[in-house]
């Protein structure tokens, strides 16, 4: 997605610890025109899949998941972050770790909204070490649902998440993939 690459080069900032700050257009302020384009492109990538629901994680995944779901005409489920594991029979509860915040959390999804007849597309804004994506995969597995694949806005290809997911044979589509950010210089992979 050339528009997205251009926007990253213009507006994103490289921070400590391999963090790419895109809060001017993706995860604090949202450029809604770009959001619609991202939703269309993610739909195009997975258009052959009989997706029944889109799964994402609060908060930054919600906008992209909704923009994608508007083209698939399916519901979005956003996993909730908690600090403690729920033993509740009503909830799929998985441990995860936030790379950005450097802290563990628990990802929760109600059992009511995902089941063994669902074909799930996972959507998120970033893929770094893959913690959030792997936790969502685990929820899909626990629910007995099938998987269409994983759609990501920005992959940081120098971190291990992309390889871990592809090595499982899972279809992973990323709108842009960043090869390196050394010395604050962003190099895309293609």
């Amino acid at each position: 997605m050339d528009n997205l690459k251009k926007r990253i080069l213009e507006d994103a900032r490289v921070m400590d610890k391999d963090i790419l700050k895109v809060d001017s257009f993706l995860n604090h302020q949202i450029d809604v025109k770009l959001l619609v384009e991202m939703g269309l492109e993610l739909h195009r990538r997975f258009a052959g899949e009989p997706v029944t629901k889109i799964l994402t994680i609060e908060s930054s995944g919600i906008s992209v998941a909704c923009a994608t779901a508007m083209n698939f005409h399916v519901p979005v489920i956003f996993a909730k972050k908690g600090s403690s594991r729920k033993s509740d029979d009503e909830v799929f509860s998985v441990n995860a770790y936030s790379y950005t915040k450097q802290e563990p959390y628990v990802m929760n999804v109600s059992r009511k909204y995902i089941g063994n007849k669902d074909h799930i597309l996972i959507i998120d804004d970033f893929l770094a070490n893959g913690e959030a994506a792997l936790a969502m995969l685990e929820i899909v597995r626990m629910a007995g649902a099938t998987l269409a694949g994983i759609g990501i806005v920005i992959e940081k290809a120098f971190q291990k998440g992309g390889k871990a997911i592809r090595d499982k044979g899972i279809r992973l589509e990323t709108l842009v993939s960043i090869q390196s950010m050394e010395n604050g210089r962003i190099i895309f992979r293609d």
Copy 2:
């Protein structure tokens, strides 16, 4: 919005402490068709206003804010929740209180994304005691921006938020307003 009233009567659950649980279509699973309709209706209500940005608060406000912003063709800013006040010069930081979680939090918005040339429409999923809306109003005031008004999906009219906002002379539009939920029975106001 008759569709929304119908959906609330069918799917919403009244919980303890005047909580209305709408996680089957609004704030855990999102019915994207209904979301698009809500965005169109909120746009229709404020169509006369020269809105430059839409302000909401993570996480449940994001989907409705984006669906509305797609019609205004303006960016969304979602305020972030934190546990401590930021003294940072870069951030508008306001104390708020979550009625649902019964705990205080701090609402943060980067100073970069809202300024004195903006005309802000505030959007949120619920209006109960008005804590989140009043905190967002305070951020608009701190930024020196002007206000188009506040658009809410569900007002619980038996709590004090709606009156507090209308008493300030602020334009408040709610897609549905609930008069009472006594004994689990939802009565709409109109």
